[in-house]
């Protein structure tokens, strides 16, 4: 890593330049670079988390929305098996429904097992039965019509999972908003740190600034001399933070794959998405690096210009 860092430019090379007017060592570079690296890492990981939650929420919502469930409670005088068949027929006749299937008694018992425990004989008591209805097109499916038709079956009700989806979307939205807020706070903290570092650098280079003023340098020229230096620091810090974030995602992805059994890993994948950094993830991290480097350059330039306008 050290050799890679050392290969990064200390300043942005511009055409027609002689020796640097602002000496490299006079800028509090290493500390600022480390700080920018940390901020970039935090931004990239937060952005990754936000994208992961949002993608998972969209996927969950789409999965859940593609299915509705008919529940038939036991009612005295009604024959459950007959009601199940009627419910399946009504569902299959509804526009937008791909298939309908009554869950067997064993499947229903399996569903209750987490609450009632294994090994119980449920044949003596009547339990509610379910019909899983898969929709071919969740938008065009005529759910109100199915709801009306099911009124003919005593004890039948339709669950579209709307409340669950609503709660899921609210939770995902809250996490995404919190993540964006964290990103905004990181940006503000970065800007403040750059302002302090730039002011310190300007104060310690006051002699150079004065000499440049005396020989007729404009504020724009002086600001440009400092800006190139800060842009390079921003880029170096950004690249280090970005590479660290990529390594973090690779490490977490590998750890999840090796620590969790394959079947459980698949379930984790369904619920939380995959900890895999795709091309879009790498592009996202590259954008974070560019934004942070740009933020460093713009903030330092504005701080330098303000400093110069106050002192000249």
């Amino acid at each position: 890593m050290a050799s890679l860092i050392d290969r990064l430019p200390l300043r942005i090379p511009l055409p027609n330049r002689g020796a640097p007017i602002v000496p490299d060592r006079s800028v509090a570079g290493r500390t600022l670079m480390l700080l920018i690296a940390i901020m970039t890492f935090l931004s990239a990981v937060t952005l990754g988390g936000v994208v992961l939650v949002q993608k998972s929420a969209i996927s969950w919502s789409a999965e859940v929305g593609r299915e509705v469930t008919i529940q038939i409670r036991p009612v005295d005088g009604e024959v459950m098996e007959s009601n199940l068949r009627t419910a399946v027929s009504l569902a299959e006749a509804t526009p937008g429904v791909a298939s309908a299937r009554a869950l067997s008694l064993e499947e229903s018992e399996d569903l209750l097992e987490p609450w009632l425990g294994a090994g119980l004989d449920l044949s003596a008591i009547e339990i509610p039965r379910l019909v899983a209805v898969e929709l071919s097109d969740p938008v065009d499916a005529d759910i109100p019509s199915l709801e009306r038709d099911l009124q003919a079956i005593k004890g039948a009700s339709l669950d579209t999972h709307a409340a669950w989806r609503q709660q899921l979307n609210t939770m995902a939205g809250t996490i995404v908003l919190s993540g964006l807020l964290v990103l905004a706070l990181i940006a503000v903290a970065t800007v403040l740190a750059i302002i302090f570092a730039t002011r310190g650098t300007m104060a310690s280079n006051r002699e150079i600034v004065d000499v440049l003023h005396f020989i007729g340098a404009s504020n724009g020229f002086i600001a440009g001399e400092f800006q190139g230096r800060f842009l390079a620091i921003g880029l170096r810090g950004g690249v280090i933070g970005g590479v660290a974030a990529i390594l973090f995602f690779l490490l977490v992805g590998t750890a999840v794959g090796s620590m969790v059994p394959e079947a459980a890993s698949a379930q984790v994948g369904i619920f939380f998405g995959q900890f895999v950094l795709g091309l879009d993830g790498i592009i996202g991290i590259a954008l974070v690096v560019i934004v942070i480097a740009g933020l460093t350059a713009i903030t330092s330039r504005m701080t330098v210009r303000r400093f110069l306008s106050q002192t000249s």
Partner: protein, 220 residues
């Protein structure tokens, strides 16, 4: 070229450092500015350098009233004024050559354009062999000659020098003033050289601006 009319200067609410200065300096002239320490020599030079504005009166430079100048115009005017300091004020991390070339870099010239001029000037001030040396390796006299070269490389119309001989021995002081005289004679540069070394002044016949307790008299 430079005209002061009833100029006064004070810092904040303090007493007037300079009072009722009225004088005119024609192009191509050479003046010594002298007076005891604390008489206001540096303040007057800062007014001439346009880094201060008078609190009263009128300063006209190159035909323009400086109190009404925009920031851009002020910058353009400042480029017609060179300055040499007692403490040299060379940038320690740049070589002699790079220090002298700095004003031309600031003007946006490429090195290929200015290299010949800088080398020639360094030869002229006797630093041709020292152009790659850092200021820390130069003697006091060499540093001051480098500072003078930096001040004149962009051919200013006016050259100000604030106690340029303050950090060198008497023999070298005299040689430095001869260098200023040569610049005045060969390039027609207007020179105002501030010094409190009276023996040095006596060796030259240039007119003297004498500041005492903020008031100015011109002799010669």
């Amino acid at each position: 070229m430079i005209e002061f009319s009833d100029v006064g200067l004070r810092y904040g609410n303090g007493p007037e450092i300079l009072r009722d200065l009225t004088f005119k300096i024609e192009p191509g002239t050479f003046y010594f500015l002298t007076g005891p320490s604390g008489a206001g020599k540096t303040s007057l030079l800062r007014l001439l350098l346009l880094s201060l504005k008078p609190t009263r009166g009128r300063v006209t430079m190159f035909g323009e009233d400086v109190s009404h100048l925009t920031q851009d115009r002020l910058l353009q005017m400042r480029r017609h004024i060179g300055i040499v300091f007692q403490e040299f004020r060379l940038l320690d991390h740049l070589t002699t050559y790079e220090n002298v070339a700095l004003p031309l870099r600031v003007l946006g010239q490429a090195e290929s354009e200015y290299r010949g001029n800088v080398t020639e000037l360094l030869d002229w001030v006797g630093l041709g062999e020292r152009m790659d040396a850092l200021p820390s390796l130069l003697s006091g006299g060499e540093k001051q000659r480098a500072a003078i070269a930096r001040a004149v490389i962009a051919r200013p119309k006016v050259l100000l020098a604030d106690e340029p001989t303050g950090n060198v021995d008497p023999d070298l002081s005299s040689r430095l003033v001869h260098l200023f005289a040569e610049l005045n004679r060969t390039l027609g540069m207007t020179i105002i050289l501030a010094t409190h070394e009276l023996p040095l002044l006596d060796r030259f016949s240039y007119p003297r601006m004498v500041l005492n307790k903020g008031e100015l008299e011109i002799h010669g």
